[in-house]
Symmetry: C2
Subunit: 405 residues, 2 copies
């Protein structure tokens, strides 16, 4: 069994980097804070005797040697970047569970046949560079390297430039490094485990997600002297679309979700009718057919909103991640670990996307979930209990040992 | 009569400062561009032999001496700051019409009994520092000096600091300088004159306007793993309110207007349910009772939107400018000028607020409107014909001479 306190201490130590006044973490991808987080992780891994490799997308691989040099590494890990208003556990937990497992194995002098590895994937959140999970995406062959490196943040800085500026452009070609298996431990980020009073989610797959950018073009005009008739108010079209997006999800109840997370309004001045408004739409469901239906409805709703307000609309699909079914062998390894340990558990789908989705394309993969308070994530108040986090790490430990035997 | 070409040349010369690629002007209050615009104005006035005074709010007064030192100055003018996506005429026209009138009078060696004056009011647009018309507001006694100087922009810079940094904090106590009359010439910023094929608006008053900041507090959460039920999405509350604001204005047809011009969404990330959204509401009508009704409906609509999405709402009224009736004597001076000149005209109310609203509290005041293409303003495409602009300036010239006799 792993050391619950030591895992907790490391989580709290990492959370000091980019700590926010409201108790969360702000370590947005490839910022100075992200660099400090990566440096701390590598320092810990060096102390534990790991070999570090970094690839062209800045993904980090920390390897604990096995006894059989022929075997591919059995990996765990997740990401260290956070949302701008992020919590202490999203991503970090999967990485630091790996560190704790390595320290436990070292203490007990346990060797594995296959090497073990901790992966840290770059820019999982997508808060700075869209799409999210871009670097596991390049690793898994979903995206080309050039596409990944050329993603731009709001200031026009490319991901490649940002990687250089924090000194994390590695030499290893991204995707060349092969994994024998990958098990990602993560907080659930949803309310199911907590509601059901279960400790472990044996994750069998991830629902599909599609992201869109919807832009309405109207006409700037004076708010005081322009009559209501004849306006071309882009924000009114946007507001109607935001409401429609909610209805589209509710029409595919119970499990569909759809959200407008971002809105950018121009010129954003008290007394000017907004001439241009862009919003992002995030739609998710396990079934491709349902996602197709939702997409059609989004196009209809946005066109109707444009017509209603005499604006023009442009709709761009900026991400399309199909639903993923994880590897049976890996799912069984997690399920038998949790049986052995006796934790209350359930098989479940993930609502959120994870690096595991892309890695699953090139290596046998699955995931382990632990509950988080109120199902809350992407929130500074995100929290999880030391006990649940330890249970997840124990499950991961047992599953890794099984796979690395 | 004034020199139409010379007026046009000066307008085009001023428009070079802060020129935008789309043909507009961006000389936001108290920026480097605003400083350059002020410097150019003062240079022109010096050439014409004017004396310059600047008050504590950075308002500029350029005086052409009269023959009777006992008389208070008869003033014209407007503002030189623009919206971020502003046009070439809004405000600037009233100021440069004054410069052209001074040059015409000098050429013809015409003297007036009362001194004539051109006023340039600071931060009329309110795009950088809300509320708009803040400096004419301090001059007219609507606001205290400390209130004016302590307004903050989005970066927390105060108006006083910004004034200092461009070197336009004057010595004259704001409001001490007294005016015998004030006539503000301005583009209409609405479609009425153009539709009616009239050249001059004899402006008898300005409708009242109220500005609000409405903030919804919900809860940041993950877009993928948070079910639709149980969300507290602040952007959904905001969207419902935006639609309601339109309906509130339409319910007071024909003349009421209401607009959401600005929306700020936090954390504004693709995959986080927005936990906090602030928007501004701008409502206008000539009748205080109607504005009261609209305010009540705004409170009801925002509360309903909060309840619907389990968010909390805060509503702040950030500006309340009652409707203004201009001085009869000044209105008559403009009306008889336009009769003498024979331009097609109409008496009308202003839809937009103007510095004249505040000045009217301490000096006899009225306004002159000229048409602008498509009624468009607060838009880079804002435009007006040299002929209409000259007609307005001639009307202003005749009215000023009448008042300064
Ligand atoms: N787990 C997580 O927060 N992933 C970010 C990508 C997504 O939005 O699903
Ligand atoms: N005229 C003008 O654009 N004034 C700004 C204040 C307002 O919004 O009415």
């Amino acid at each position: 069994r792993i050391n619950q306190d030591r895992l907790w201490q490391r989580l709290m130590r990492m959370a000091e980097i980019g700590a926010t006044p409201a108790g969360g973490s702000c370590r947005v991808a490839l910022t100075e804070e992200d660099r400090q987080g990566r440096d701390l992780f590598i320092e810990w891994c060096h102390t534990l005797g790991c070999e570090i490799r970094i690839d062209r997308m800045g993904n980090i691989f920390a390897q604990r040697p096995g006894t059989d040099p022929q075997r591919l590494p059995i990996a765990c890990g997740s990401h260290l970047d956070t949302q701008p208003h992020g919590g202490k556990f999203d991503g970090v937990y999967g990485v630091l569970a790996g560190v704790e497992i390595f320290e436990t194995l070292n203490e007990k002098n346990i060797e594995t046949a296959a090497p073990l590895e901790i992966c840290v994937w770059t820019n999982e959140e997508g808060a700075r560079f869209a799409p999210p999970m871009i670097s596991s995406g390049v690793f898994g062959g979903t995206y080309e390297l050039d596409y990944g490196l050329s993603r731009e943040d709001a200031d026009g800085i490319t991901l490649g430039e940002a990687l250089e500026s924090i000194g994390y452009t590695g030499a290893l070609p991204c995707g060349d490094h092969r994994l024998g298996a990958f098990i990602e431990a993560h907080i659930e980020q949803g309310p199911i485990l907590e509601r059901q009073e279960e400790t472990i989610g044996v994750v069998t797959g991830v629902q599909g997600s599609r992201w869109y950018r919807v832009t309405f073009h109207g006409q700037d005009a004076h708010t005081g002297s322009t009559p209501m008739e004849g306006r071309r108010d882009a924000l009114l079209s946007a507001a109607q679309t935001i409401n429609a997006v909610k209805k589209i999800a509710e029409g595919q109840a119970p499990s569909a979700v759809a959200t407008v997370g971002r809105i950018d309004c121009l010129p954003n001045s008290h007394n000017t009718i907004p001439g241009e408004v862009a919003l992002t739409v995030d739609m998710r469901h396990a079934s491709t057919e349902t996602l197709d239906t939702m997409e059609t409805q989004l196009h209809e709703a946005a066109s109707a909103a444009a017509q209603q307000e005499s604006t023009e609309v442009e709709i761009q699909r900026i991400m399309n991640t199909p639903s993923v079914h994880f590897d049976t062998h890996c799912i069984v390894a997690v399920a038998s670990a949790v049986h052995q340990l006796g934790y209350p558990h359930r098989r479940m789908l993930s609502g959120a996307g994870h690096d595991a989705c892309h890695v699953a394309r090139v290596a046998p993969t699955s995931m382990i979930f632990v509950p988080c308070a109120g199902g809350l994530s992407h929130n500074e108040a995100e929290s999880a209990t030391p006990e649940d986090l330890a249970a997840g790490a124990n499950t991961l430990l047992y599953a890794l040992i099984k796979l690395a035997r």
